[in-house]
């Protein structure tokens, strides 16, 4: 029992709380960035794959299809390693910032880039599903109103596609938050990495000089609770959205059709 008490005392050590809090912040920032930038890149990919089917633009369609399939069928960790080795980091990011050393900033940039690249392929498939759900007549209606292709896409097709996929995108945020824990393999800034750091130094923090099972339980348990609270909140939002949509579908079938 005394080891358990001393394990809990790790969490109340000065600095540990802030250290973890910053880890949570980095996890959230990286995930949100990964989803937003991934959504932009993924939308372009999805548009190319869905609509570039004729003429010389076909090559664009093929390229985006190849990109999507390549990233979808290889593990995220591989892309982290690839980016860490090969991706150049612009000088702008290679400075001391946000309380991180320049080395950590470089790693953060590369790891976040890997997340964006990987995420964009997954999101592209989600957006493509949304695009396929938009009726073809919408295009013709837009053209007949004198819109050009870019305007039709921007004002008519994409808004409808996005509205259809909001719940799926939100669940992708959950996946991204979970995936960001893979960064613990290279960087030392997000929640999972910091928990591991704390565990490796648990012997000095708990005042016993040794790392015990209770330290593992307490530290990883804390991480579990944090991840669970964030993700469960999101998944509750997703679920309430989906039920509301289903209800709307039932009561207004004509609109849905």
């Amino acid at each position: 029992m005394s080891t358990l008490a001393s394990s809990f005392s790790i969490l109340t050590q000065p600095g540990v709380f802030v250290y973890l809090l910053r880890g949570i912040a980095f996890t959230c920032i990286i995930s949100v960035l990964g989803v937003i930038l991934g959504l932009i890149l993924g939308s372009l990919l999805a548009l190319a794959r869905t609509y570039c089917k004729k003429g010389p633009a076909r090559i664009l369609g093929w390229l985006s299809a190849a990109y999507i399939e390549l990233f979808r069928n290889t593990p995220y960790l591989l892309w982290i390693f690839v980016c860490v080795v090969f991706c150049p980091c612009p000088a702008f990011f290679a400075h001391k910032m946000f309380g991180l050393t320049s080395v950590e900033m470089k790693l953060l940039f590369k790891a976040a880039l890997a997340l964006i690249l990987f995420n964009s392929s997954v999101i592209a498939e989600i957006v493509r599903g949304g695009l396929n759900g938009v009726a073809k007549g919408q295009f013709e209606a837009g053209y007949s109103q004198g819109f050009n292709t870019a305007q039709v896409l921007l004002y008519i097709i994409l808004p409808q596609a996005y509205r259809n996929i909001v719940p799926t995108l939100l669940s992708q945020v959950i996946t991204t938050i979970k995936d960001s824990s893979y960064l613990a393999n290279v960087a030392t800034i997000e929640l999972m990495a910091r928990i591991r750091q704390l565990l490796s130094a648990a012997g000095t923090y708990n005042g016993l000089g040794t790392v015990n099972v209770s330290d593992v339980m307490v530290l990883f348990g804390t991480a579990c609770v944090i991840y669970f609270v964030i993700n469960f909140t999101l998944s509750c939002i997703v679920r309430s959205m989906q039920t509301r949509r289903k209800k709307a579908l039932v009561f207004a079938p004509a609109k849905a059709a």
Binding site: T74, P75, F81, V82, D179, Y182, A184, V216, A223, A257
Partner: protein, 246 residues
């Protein structure tokens, strides 16, 4: 990137092809056993969730929510370190099989639940009216109808499972990714980054791409067939077409 064209680097990779194959073997081994465990857990969870009994449904719900809302990496680390510090370590591969099986099982459970729920309620009632017990009802009436619905998303989960074996790296596994990484950073073999990563990526791609393409095609054809078979859906589509034309 210059390493891509260096013959020496490619030769190093070729000379160490056995370690890559060993990594692939470990990854496949982990994935296969984890899949068996995941299927068992998934079917059990699916049956619990559709049993209609509140406490059983609650158990399935808690399991799925807890597993799906925490990262796989954390679960694996938790299991591995807890066992290691308690002196009960059972090896990286076996720990990986358990963690991956438990994680994928939650997703399989959702797939099974959705598939069983997609069978019209009248089928349950008709089976019950014919005097079928629970097991008979499931085995003869419900599962045969839900398995085709279940399979495509399950194939997708297999792809995810295969990719997720990369999480073993964090506890020092011997799977494909870990082997690749120790190859490129090894003292005698180090430096051949580009060829090693290309080989590793290619192996993953060769395994996953056919599976994920199969799942997508299968799902699409299933949807089409269902649309043709379901008169209500066809009617709704026709109404929509008419409305558009009007």
């Amino acid at each position: 990137m210059s390493g891509v064209f260096s013959m020496d680097a490619w030769a190093t990779v070729w000379n160490h092809r056995e370690s890559f194959l060993l990594g692939l073997g470990n990854t496949l081994l982990t994935a296969c056993f984890a899949l068996a465990l995941a299927l068992a857990i998934g079917i059990l969870l699916g049956l619990l969730a559709t049993s209609g009994k509140k406490p059983l449904q609650f158990i399935a719900r808690v399991y799925v929510e807890f597993i799906q809302n925490t990262p796989l990496l954390l679960q694996l680390c938790f299991l591995y370190y807890a066992l290691a510090f308690a002196g009960l370590s059972m090896g990286v591969i076996r720990t990986g099989i358990v963690a991956l099986g438990v994680y994928t099982g939650a997703y399989m459970g959702e797939v099974v639940r959705a598939a069983i729920e997609s069978v019209p309620k009248g089928q349950f009632e008709a089976a019950q009216a014919q005097g079928f017990g629970y097991l008979q009802r499931m085995a003869y009436i419900i599962l045969p109808q839900s398995i085709p619905v279940m399979l495509p998303p399950m194939v997708n989960q297999v792809v995810n499972l295969f990719k997720n074996t990369s999480c073993l790296y964090i506890v020092g596994g011997a799977d494909l990714i870990s082997v690749t990484y120790s190859f490129v950073t090894g003292a005698s073999t180090g430096g051949a980054y580009a060829p090693a990563y290309i080989v590793c990526g290619a192996i993953f791609f060769v395994v996953c791409f056919p599976l994920s393409t199969l799942a997508t095609r299968w799902e699409a054809s299933l949807k089409e067939r269902k649309g043709r078979a379901d008169p209500a859906l066809t009617a709704a589509k026709k109404a929509a077409v008419l409305k558009e034309a009007a």
